[in-house]
C-alpha cells in the first residue's frame, strides 16, 4: 500500500511542477492552458467556449481547461486577466461589450489598452427577449405601450450596457421599470420561462428557443436583424440611435509575447474552420461564425468605445450612475 501512497505523491508532484511554470517561451504551449469564461456555466458563451477549448486542445497539443469566473458582466474575468503574468496561458473568451462598455460604466481596474485582442470569431446576436403568452404579445411597440400603462413592469439585466440601453429607452418612452439583476443566460432563462419577469436582455440563449417559440425576440441588439428572428426590428429601426453590436473575442494581457498571440490565433483560426465549432455556433447558438484578425478587431472595438462615449455625453452622464 505504501506503493500506492508513493505513486499518488509522485503523481501529485508531477502535476504540481507542471503547474508552477517551468515552461520555456519558445515551445508555447508547454503546459495546460486556461480558457476563462466571464459568465456562468450553461450560457451561450460558456457552451461555445467548451467546444473552442476542445478544438484548441487538439491544435495546441495541451489541455485547455474552461474556467467560469462570472460577475460584473464579464468584468471580473477581465480584471483578473489584466493582472495575469502568465504570457497567454490564461486567456479570456468573451463578449466585446465587457471591454468596450465596462470601463465606461464602472470603475474598472482595466481598459481597452490593457489587452491584446487575438481574434474575433463570432458575431453576437444579443437581443431584448420576452416569454410566451405575455399580455403584450411579442412585439416591441406593444410592450412599450403596456409598460407605459403598467408601472413596475419587470426587466432582467445581465450587463451594465443592456442596463444603460434599457434605462435610456425607459427615459425616452417614460417607463417605470423594475430592473432585476441576474447572471448569465442560465440565470435569465428560468425567470423568463416561468413568467416571473416580463422581458429581459439575452446574450444568445434565446436562439436555442427559436424553434419552440418559448422566448420571442422583441428587439435585435446586433447591427442587423437576427438570423433566427428576422421579424424583430433592430435598435435603430425601433428609433433608438445606439450601436451595441457585439463581437466574441479572445483576449490576452497586453504584455503577451507576439509568438504566443500568433500561436493562439492559429488555433482560433483553425477552430473557426472546424465543423464542430461552426455547428455549435451556427446551429445551436445561432450566431454567425466570423474571422476577424487582431488589427481588425482592435480597430472595431476602439470605434465602439468612441460611439459609447458620444452616447453617454449625449445622455448627459450615465443613467443609474447614482445607484
Amino acid at each position: 500500500m505504501k506503493m500506492t501512497l508513493l505513486g499518488s505523491a509522485l503523481l501529485a508532484s508531477a502535476v504540481a511542477l507542471a503547474g508552477t511554470g517551468l515552461a520555456q517561451a519558445d515551445d508555447f504551449p508547454s503546459k495546460p492552458l486556461t480558457l476563462v469564461v466571464g459568465w456562468g456555466a450553461g450560457g451561450s458563451t460558456d457552451i461555445q467556449a467548451r467546444v473552442l477549448a476542445d478544438i484548441m486542445t487538439e491544435e495546441l497539443g495541451q489541455p485547455v481547461n474552461v474556467v467560469n469566473q462570472p460577475g460584473a458582466g464579464g468584468g471580473v474575468a477581465l480584471a483578473r486577466l489584466a493582472n495575469s503574468r502568465d504570457e497567454g496561458y490564461t486567456f479570456v473568451f468573451g463578449t466585446s461589450m465587457t471591454i468596450t462598455f465596462g470601463p465606461l460604466s464602472s470603475e474598472t481596474t482595466y481598459d481597452l489598452d490593457d489587452f491584446r485582442y487575438v481574434a474575433g470569431v463570432t458575431l453576437g446576436q444579443s437581443a431584448i427577449v420576452t416569454g410566451e403568452d405575455r399580455p403584450f404579445g411579442d412585439s416591441w411597440e406593444d410592450l412599450v405601450a403596456y409598460a407605459q400603462e403598467n408601472p413596475g413592469t419587470s426587466y432582467a439585466t445581465q450587463t451594465a450596457l443592456d442596463r444603460m440601453i434599457i434605462e435610456y429607452i425607459a427615459q425616452q418612452e417614460g417607463l417605470d421599470l423594475r430592473i432585476v439583476p441576474t447572471s448569465g443566460g442560465a440565470g435569465m432563462a428560468p425567470l423568463i420561462l416561468s413568467g416571473d419577469v416580463d422581458f429581459a436582455y439575452s446574450g444568445g440563449t434565446h436562439s436555442g428557443y427559436a424553434d419552440t417559440g418559448e422566448m420571442p425576440v422583441l428587439l435585435s441588439l446586433a447591427e442587423d436583424r437576427l438570423v433566427a428572428f428576422p421579424d424583430a426590428p433592430t435598435l435603430q429601426e425601433a428609433g433608438y440611435d445606439i450601436n451595441a453590436a457585439e463581437i466574441r473575442v479572445a483576449m490576452v494581457p497586453q504584455n503577451t509575447p507576439d509568438a504566443h498571440v500568433e500561436r493562439l490565433a492559429e488555433a482560433l483560426k483553425a477552430a473557426t474552420e472546424d465543423e464542430r465549432f461552426i455547428e455549435i455556433t451556427e446551429e445551436r447558438i445561432l450566431m454567425p461564425v466570423t474571422w476577424m484578425p487582431e488589427d481588425e478587431v482592435t480597430q472595431t472595438l476602439s470605434d465602439q468605445v468612441e460611439g459609447y462615449k458620444a452616447l453617454i455625453e449625449e445622455l448627459g452622464g450615465l443613467p443609474g450612475e447614482d445607484e
Partner: protein, 505 residues
C-alpha cells in the same frame, strides 16, 4: 431525453475508460476509508485538483467513486482495529470488532462489505428515481421559492448538524459572510475584498475547502497522534470456517433492507450525515431483534445495519443536490465546488441543460457500486494490511498533497496564505465543535441565495404580500419560522437543564 439517450449514457458509463476512472476513485476511496484519520472530506478536497486534467464527467465520476469507496472502506478498520476509518463507521465497531476478535474477521468484513454495497446500490437507485421528478418540479420554481427553500435548508442544517443550535447558526453565519465576499451582483461594488483583486470573484473555493477540511484535519490528527499511539490490529487468519455462508448472508438481508431505508431517509434530509444514519439503523436493528442482547457481542446483523445505513446516506444526500441544488452534506457541498470548477451548475437546471451528463453520472454511480463490491471482495487481504500504515506517513503525505493542490490551481502565494488562514480557522471550528457542514453549505449556497432574494425583493417591489400568491414560498417561510422557534425552545430547555444540574456537580 429519450430512452435511446438514456441507454447511450449507460453505454458511456460502461466504457472502459470511464470504468477505469471510477475504479481509480473507488480504490483510492477505499484506501482512504481504511486509514483511520483520513476521512472522506479530506480525500475529496485534495482530489479535486487532481481532476483538473480530466473531463467534467470523469472528474465528477472519480469524486463520486471516491466518496462511495470511503464509506465501504471505513468498515475495515472499524472491524479490525476497533477504530472507525470514518467517524460514520463508529457503529460498525460495536459488533465488528467483537466478531473479529473471536476469530471471524473475514466473515465480519464480508458482511460489512455486502451490506455496504447493497445499501449503496439501493440508495443510488432511489436517487435516480426521485431526483428527476424532483428536478422537473423544481425547474418551475421562481426566485421566491428558491430563496425561501434555501433559507429553510440553511436553518435546518444549522439545527440538525449536531451540537448547539446557536453554534450551528454562528457557523452558518460565517459561511454566509464569506460567501458575500466579491463583487455585488447588482451594482458591481466591491465587498469585503480589502483591495485584493483575487477576492473579486469571491473567496476562492479550493483554498477554503483544502484549508478548512484537509489541512485543519491534519492538525487535529497531529494533536491526537501525540497523545495516543499504538492499537492492535487483528490479522486475517487461515481459519477455514471463517467465511460467510449464503445462509448467514440471507439472515442479514431484512436488516440490510430496513437499514438502507433508514440511511436513505437520513441522507435525504440535509445536515444529518452518515453517523446519525448508522447509529439510528443500529439502534433500530437492536430494538426490533428477537435477541437484542446478542448485539455488541459480534452479531452480524449489527455490522449489516450500521454499514448498510452508512453507505445509503451518501447517494441519498445527493437527492437535494440534484433535485434542488442544495448540498446536504460535506461531500455534496464539495461536489458542487468540483462541478463549479468544471463549469457545470449543479441542480435542477442540469436536467434541462446537461441531461446527458446527469444520466451518465447516474449510471457511473451504479458502476461505482458494483466496483465497490469487486474491489472490496478481492482486496480484502490487501486492505487489511493498509490499516497498519503509520499515521506520521499519512499526515505528511496529505499535507504535501494539500499544498501541491493549491499550486496546481495557480493561486500562487495568495492561495498559500489563504489555505493556511483557513486551516487555522478550520482547526478552531473543529476544536470548539462548530458545525462544519453548516459553514460549508452556507458558503456554497450564499451567492445563489443572495441573487434570488434580491430578485424577489425587486420584483415584488418590496411588498411582502407577494408571498400570498406564492404558496410554496409562503409554506417554506412558515416552516422556517416554526423551525427556528422549535430549535430555540429546545436549545433554551437544554440550557436550563444544564444550569439546574450545575450546582449538584
Amino acid at each position: 431525453m429519450g430512452f435511446d439517450a438514456i441507454l447511450g449514457s449507460f453505454a458511456a458509463a460502461f466504457h472502459y475508460e470511464s470504468i477505469a476512472i471510477i475504479l481509480g476513485g473507488v480504490l483510492l476511496g477505499y484506501i482512504v476509508g481504511v486509514i483511520p484519520g483520513l476521512n472522506r472530506a479530506v480525500a475529496i478536497a485534495i482530489a479535486i485538483p487532481l481532476t483538473f486534467y480530466m473531463s467534467a464527467y470523469a472528474a465528477i465520476a472519480f469524486l463520486i467513486g471516491l466518496s462511495k469507496g470511503t464509506a465501504a472502506g471505513s468498515a475495515v478498520s472499524a472491524i479490525l482495529l476497533n477504530t472507525p476509518g470514518e467517524p460514520s463507521s463508529a457503529a460498525t465497531c460495536l459488533d465488528g470488532y467483537p466478531m473479529a476478535s473471536s476469530g471471524k474477521p473475514r466473515k465480519a468484513l464480508k458482511v460489512g462489505l455486502l451490506a455496504s454495497v447493497i445499501g449503496d446500490l439501493l440508495a443510488t437507485l432511489l436517487l435516480i428515481a426521485v431526483a428527476i421528478p424532483f428536478a422537473s418540479v423544481a425547474l418551475k420554481f421562481g426566485p421566491y421559492e428558491l430563496a425561501a427553500i434555501l433559507i429553510f435548508a440553511l436553518v435546518f442544517i444549522a439545527g440538525m448538524a449536531g451540537g448547539s443550535f446557536l453554534k450551528g447558526l454562528a457557523a452558518g453565519g460565517m459561511g454566509v459572510i464569506l460567501g458575500t465576499v466579491g463583487l455585488d451582483p447588482e451594482t458591481g461594488a466591491m465587498r469585503l475584498t480589502f483591495g485584493y483583486a483575487e477576492l473579486m470573484e469571491g473567496v476562492p473555493i479550493l483554498p477554503l475547502v483544502i484549508g478548512t477540511l484537509a489541512l485543519a484535519e491534519m492538525f487535529v490528527q497531529l494533536d491526537e497522534y501525540r497523545r495516543n499511539k499504538g492499537g492492535s490490529v487483528i490479522k486475517l487468519g487461515k481459519n477455514t470456517d471463517d467465511d460467510l455462508s449464503y445462509r448467514e448472508f440471507k439472515g442479514t438481508l431484512p436488516t440490510i433492507f430496513r437499514s438502507t431505508g433508514v440511511g436513505a431517509f437520513v441522507g435525504a434530509l440535509p445536515g444529518l450525515g452518515p453517523s446519525v444514519g448508522a447509529f439510528m439503523a443500529y439502534g433500530l436493528a437492536k430494538r426490533t431483534d428477537k435477541d437484542p442482547d446478542s448485539f455488541g457481542k459480534g452479531n452480524p446483523k449489527g455490522i449489516a445495519a450500521a454499514e448498510a445505513s452508512d453507505n445509503a446516506v451518501i447517494p441519498a444526500s445527493y437527492i437535494p443536490l440534484f433535485g434542488l441544488g442544495i448540498p446536504g452534506s460535506v461531500s455534496a457541498a464539495l461536489l458542487v465546488g468540483a462541478f463549479m470548477i468544471h463549469g457545470i451548475q449543479v441542480g435542477p437546471l442540469m436536467l434541462r441543460d446537461h441531461p446527458e451528463m446527469l444520466f451518465t453520472l447516474f449510471s457511473g454511480m451504479i458502476v461505482a457500486s458494483l466496483l465497490m463490491l469487486a474491489v472490496g471482495w478481492y482486496g480484502l487481504r490487501l486492505f487489511a494490511k493498509v490499516t497498519s500504515v503509520p499515521a506520521h506517513i499519512v499526515i505528511s503525505v496529505v499535507i504535501f498533497l494539500c499544498l501541491a493542490g493549491i499550486q496546481v490551481q495557480g493561486y500562487g502565494t495568495f492561495g498559500l496564505v489563504t489555505v493556511f488562514v483557513f486551516a487555522i480557522f478550520g482547526y478552531f471550528l473543529k476544536k470548539f465543535d462548530y458545525s462544519f457542514v453548516t459553514f460549508l453549505v452556507a458558503f456554497i449556497v450564499t451567492p445563489m441565495l443572495e441573487m434570488n432574494l434580491r430578485q424577489s425583493v425587486i420584483l415584488s417591489g418590496g411588498d411582502v404580500a407577494i408571498l400570498l400568491q406564492r404558496p410554496i414560498a409562503l409554506a417554506f417561510v412558515i416552516f422556517t419560522a416554526l423551525l427556528v422557534l422549535h430549535l430555540s425552545w429546545s436549545a433554551y430547555r437544554q440550557w436550563l437543564r444544564k444550569r439546574l444540574k450545575a450546582p449538584e456537580a
